[in-house]
C-alpha cells in the first residue's frame, strides 16, 4: 500500500482540482475519453466527476475486455463449456457475460459444465497438467496487457508437450480500436460526438509503450495523455489534456512515467510476436468489424488453438434490440440514455456486457454514480 496511497491523496487531489478549475476556459466544453475500463472504474470509484468543473465531460471508451467481446465468440465459449470432457477456464468477469438468451458460463457451471475461474493464465496450464484425461480450454480475453501471459503459457504447453491444452484466443489491440472510433462517421463526418482528447491506457501502455499513440495525435489532431490507474494519475492527466487543448497542442504526453517507456516492454512484445499474428478483421461488440484489431495463434502453435481443434464456427449474433452497449462503447451515448439501464438491465441481471464488468461504463455508473441522477452533477460537486 506504501506505493499506492500517495496516488490517492485527497489534499493533492483538491489542489489539482483547483488548478483544473482555474485553467479551464469557462466558455467552452471539454470532451475527454478515457479509453480504458480501469480508468472508468477509478473515475467512478473515487468520485472524480465530483471534483471536476461542469464543462469537463468524461466519455467512457471501449477498453473493457469483456464488454467488447462479440456475442458470437461468447456463444463459442458456451459451446466449449458444453463439450463433454472439456474444462473451460477464464477470468472472473468473463463468466457472467450473458448471451442473447441470457445464458452465461456460470449458469453452464450450475448445469454441470466444468467451468473454472482462474486468476492467471498459468492456473489454466496447471489445471491441464492436473487433468490429463480432459481437454482444458483457456478462454483468453483482454488487451495487450493480458496477451503476453497467454503467449507464455502456449509456449510452455508446447515445451511440456501437452496434448490436452488449448487457448480460445480473443486478444484485441488498443490502437486499432482508437483509430476506428476516431474514423467513425459519427465523429469524423457527422460531428455527432465531440471528442477533444484521450486519456491513454495505463497497463496496456506498459507493454506497447507510448509511441503507438503518436499517430492519433498527428493524424486526428487529438492530444493523448497516458495515465496510471490511480485517481491522482487521472486528475493530473485531465489537467495535462486541458493545458494541451487550451494551447492548441495535440501531442502524446506520458503522465505514467513510473511504468511506461516510449518503446514499452520489448521482451513482452517479442513473446507476443512469436506466438500470435494479426487477424485480418475481428468483430468488436459496439464497433463492428475492425480491421487488424485482434490476434490469433500462429500456425506453428496450431495444436494449442481451440478454434482449430474444436472447429469452432464463426457466428454473428446481434445484440439485444434495446441494449445500447454498442453506442455506449463508441461514446455516442451515456448509460443514462439507455432505456433499459437500471430497470431491465442491472448488475444482478445484466443484459448488456457493459453492465457486467466493474470496468464497464454501465456497471461503474450504476454501482458508483447513480446518486447524481436526481442530484444533478452540480449538487454532487459541492462536496
Amino acid at each position: 500500500m506504501k506505493y499506492i496511497e500517495p496516488f490517492r491523496n485527497g489534499a493533492i487531489a483538491r489542489k489539482i482540482a483547483r488548478k483544473i478549475t482555474a485553467e479551464t476556459d469557462p466558455h467552452r466544453d471539454y470532451y475527454l475519453m478515457e479509453f480504458c475500463g480501469g480508468h472508468t472504474h477509478a473515475i467512478s470509484r473515487y468520485g472524480i466527476p465530483g471534483l471536476l468543473p461542469g464543462n469537463i465531460h468524461m466519455i467512457h471508451g471501449p477498453g473493457c475486455p469483456v464488454c467488447v467481446l462479440p456475442m458470437g465468440r461468447l456463444e463459442n465459449m458456451i459451446q466449449l463449456a458444453q463439450t463433454p470432457g472439456c474444462i473451460v477456464c477464464s477470468y472472473g468477469d468473463m463468466l457472467r457475460v450473458p448471451t442473447a438468451q441470457g445464458d452465461n458460463l456460470l449458469k453452464q457451471k450450475a448445469r454441470g459444465a466444468d467451468v473454472r475461474m482462474i486468476y492467471s493464465a498459468a492456473d489454466a496450464l496447471q489445471i491441464a497438467q492436473q487433468n490429463p484425461q480432459q481437454q482444458v480450454v483457456f478462454l483468453a480475453i483482454g488487451f495487450e496487457t493480458t496477451t503476453p501471459p497467454t503467449a507464455v503459457v502456449i509456449r510452455q504447453a508446447q515445451m511440456l508437450g501437452l496434448t490436452n491444452f488449448t487457448v480460445f484466443c480473443n486478444h484485441v489491440l488498443t490502437p486499432s480500436a482508437i483509430s476506428h472510433i476516431l474514423q467513425s462517421p459519427e465523429i469524423r463526418e457527422l460531428g455527432l460526438v465531440r471528442l477533444d482528447g484521450f486519456i491513454g491506457p495505463a497497463h496496456v501502455s506498459t507493454i506497447i509503450g507510448s509511441n503507438p499513440y503518436a499517430y492519433f495525435a498527428e493524424e486526428f489532431q487529438k492530444p493523448v495523455v497516458i495515465a496510471g490507474f490511480e485517481p491522482l494519475d487521472v486528475m493530473q492527466a485531465i489537467l495535462m489534456l486541458i493545458r494541451q487543448l487550451n494551447t492548441g497542442r495535440a501531442e502524446v504526453e506520458n503522465e505514467f512515467t513510473r511504468a511506461v517507456l516510449p518503446d514499452g516492454n520489448i521482451k513482452a512484445q517479442r513473446l507476443v510476436a512469436e506466438v500470435f499474428e494479426l487477424r485480418r478483421s475481428f468483430e468488436w461488440r459496439g464497433l463492428g468489424a475492425v480491421p487488424y484489431s485482434a490476434l490469433r495463434i500462429k500456425s506453428r502453435f496450431a495444436e494449442f488453438d481451440a478454434e482449430r481443434r474444436f472447429a469452432l464456427p464463426v457466428l454473428s449474433v446481434p445484440d439485444h434490440k434495446a441494449c445500447e452497449c454498442g453506442a455506449i462503447l463508441r461514446g455516442v451515448k451515456h448509460p443514462r440514455d439507455c432505456s433499459i439501464f437500471g430497470t431491465v438491465c442491472t448488475p444482478d441481471n445484466p443484459l448488456g456486457s457493459c453492465m457486467v464488468s466493474s470496468e464497464g461504463a454501465c456497471a461503474a455508473y450504476y454501482r458508483y454514480g447513480r446518486f447524481r441522477e436526481d442530484d444533478n452533477d452540480d449538487v454532487a460537486r459541492t462536496h
Binding site: 500500500m1 499506492i4 490517492r8 491523496n9 485527497g10 487531489a13 483538491r14 482540482a17 480504458c36 475500463g37 480501469g38 472504474h41 467512478s44 470509484r45 473515487y46 468520485g47 472524480i48 466527476p49 465530483g50 471534483l51 475486455p65 469483456v66 477470468y91 472472473g92 468477469d93 468473463m94 463468466l95 457472467r96 456460470l106 475461474m117 486468476y119 492456473d123 480475453i141 483482454g142 488487451f143 496487457t145 493480458t146 497497463h203 496496456v204 485517481p231 442491472t346 448488475p347 444482478d348 464488468s357 466493474s358 470496468e359 450504476y366 454501482r367 458508483y368 454514480g369 447513480r370 446518486f371 436526481d374 454532487a380 462536496h383
Partner: protein, 352 residues
C-alpha cells in the same frame, strides 16, 4: 442426536479418532451412530439437558421477549487462521441473537457430515465448538447428525439455532435508523473474508492475518447498558458492511453517508483487496458489529466500545441521512463521492 448416558455401552471398541473416518454407518441410527454421539458430541458438549437423552431439550421459559435465530455454516477450508467451522458456527448464531440486544440462552446444532471426513478433524471441530460455547457460556442442548455420501458434501456443514431473551426497555431493530443517527463499526473490516481467502491453497498469497471470529454477546451487553436506546445492531458477515448498511437503509427507508477515511481497516486487508481488485467494504466479518444510534449517544457509546477487547479499533464511520432512494453513499478519501451499492453476485477479480 440420540442421547446416551450412564448406561452400559452398546459397543466394545473405542472410536479411532486418530485414523478413523466418518462412515455411512455413523448416520444410520445403529450402534456406530450412538457411539459417535456418546464419545464425541456428548463428551464435548456435556450438560444436563443432553444427559437427559431425549429427542428434544426441555427448558423453562422466562418472562419477556425471546429471540430465535438459525444459521447454516459452510466454509472452505474447515480450519483457518483464527478459527474453524466449529467456533464459527457458535459465534455466527450467537451474534445473530445478540444483535437484538438479547442475552443468548441455548443453542442447538445440526451436523451434516461427509463420508470420509477424518474423525480427528471432526473431533477438533466439535471440541472447538464446545470451547466456544462454554466461553460464552451458552449450552448446546440438542442436536442431530446425518452422514451423506462422499462427494455430496464439503467435509462438514453445521447448522446452529439459538434462543435468547431481550432485556426490558431494549428495542433494537433494523427499521429504526433515523436521519441524523450516527453509524459505528466495532473494529477493522474484512479480516475474516481475507483470512479465508489467504487460507485457500489456490491463492499464492501468504500472510499472518487471522479471522476475527468472535462472540459479541459481552460487547453488546456493555453497549446496551451504556446506551439502551441503540436503534440498530447488525453483524456484517457475508457481503460485509456494504451489504449490512444497504439492508438497514432499505428497511429503515433512509440513506447513509459514510466517510472512507474513518473506516478502520488493516493494511494487509487493503493490500490483498488491492491486488485482487476486491472492495473491502464487501468482505465478510465474523467478530464485528455495526451500530446505529442517536447522535447524542454516539460518543459515549464509542468510548465504551473502545474499552472492550473486541472494540478497540471502533470508529464512527458516517451518519444516516434522508434519501428516498435509500442509497448508501461514501465520501471517498480522495474527496469525491460514490454509491456503495449492494453486491451483485460474488465479487469477481478484475481482468486488467
Amino acid at each position: 442426536m440420540q442421547k446416551a448416558g450412564k448406561r452400559k455401552p452398546v459397543y466394545t471398541r473405542k472410536l479411532d479418532f486418530r485414523h478413523g473416518r466418518v462412515e455411512m454407518a455413523h448416520g444410520s441410527g445403529g450402534r456406530a451412530m450412538t457411539q459417535l454421539v456418546d464419545q464425541l458430541f456428548i463428551a464435548a458438549f456435556d450438560n444436563h439437558y443432553l444427559r437427559q437423552m431425549n429427542d428434544q431439550a426441555c427448558f423453562p421459559v422466562g418472562s419477556g421477549r425471546m429471540v430465535m435465530s438459525t444459521d447454516c455454516h459452510v466454509v472452505t477450508p474447515l480450519f483457518f487462521p483464527g478459527g474453524d467451522i466449529g467456533s464459527l458456527s457458535v459465534h455466527g448464531t450467537v451474534n445473530d441473537i445478540v444483535m437484538s440486544g438479547a442475552r443468548p440462552l441455548y443453542l442447538s446444532a445440526g451436523f451434516i457430515l461427509e463420508e470420509g471426513l477424518p474423525l480427528a478433524d471432526l473431533k477438533r471441530i466439535v471440541e472447538s465448538m464446545a470451547a466456544a460455547a462454554q466461553a460464552i457460556p451458552v449450552p448446546v442442548i440438542t442436536g442431530d447428525t446425518k452422514v451423506v455420501e462422499q462427494g455430496s458434501g464439503d467435509g462438514v456443514f453445521i447448522t446452529t439455532t439459538g434462543i435468547g431473551v431481550v432485556p426490558d426497555g431494549v428495542h433494537i431493530s433494523s427499521e429504526r435508523a433515523k436521519p441524523g443517527d450516527k453509524i459505528l463499526v466495532s473494529g477493522t473490516i474484512g479480516d475474516h473474508g481475507i483470512a479465508i481467502l489467504l487460507a485457500r491453497e489456490d491463492f499464492a498469497f501468504y500472510g499472518t492475518l487471522e479471522s476475527d471470529t468472535a462472540a459479541l454477546h459481552d460487547l453488546v451487553a456493555v453497549m446496551v447498558q451504556t446506551a439502551p436506546d441503540i436503534h440498530v445492531l447488525r453483524d456484517p458477515t457475508r457481503g460485509g458492511i456494504a451489504a449490512a448498511l444497504n439492508e438497514i437503509a432499505h428497511q429503515s427507508g433512509v440513506g447513509m453517508l459514510l466517510h472512507e477515511h474513518c473506516i478502520p481497516m488493516k493494511e494487509q486487508v487493503g493490500a490483498v483487496c488491492e491486488f485482487l481488485g476486491f472492495d473491502p467494504l464487501y468482505m465478510a466479518n465474523e467478530g464485528k458489529l455495526v451500530a446505529i444510534c442517536a447522535p447524542q449517544d454516539a460518543d459515549r457509546l464509542l468510548d465504551k466500545i473502545r474499552t472492550h477487547p473486541l472494540g478497540q479499533n471502533a470508529a464512527i464511520i458516517g451518519e444516516v441521512i434522508e434519501d428516498n432512494h435509500c442509497f448508501v453513499q461514501m465520501e471517498t478519501r480522495f474527496g469525491g463521492r460514490r454509491v456503495v451499492d449492494w453486491l451483485s453476485g460474488d465479487q469477481l477479480p478484475r481482468i486488467c
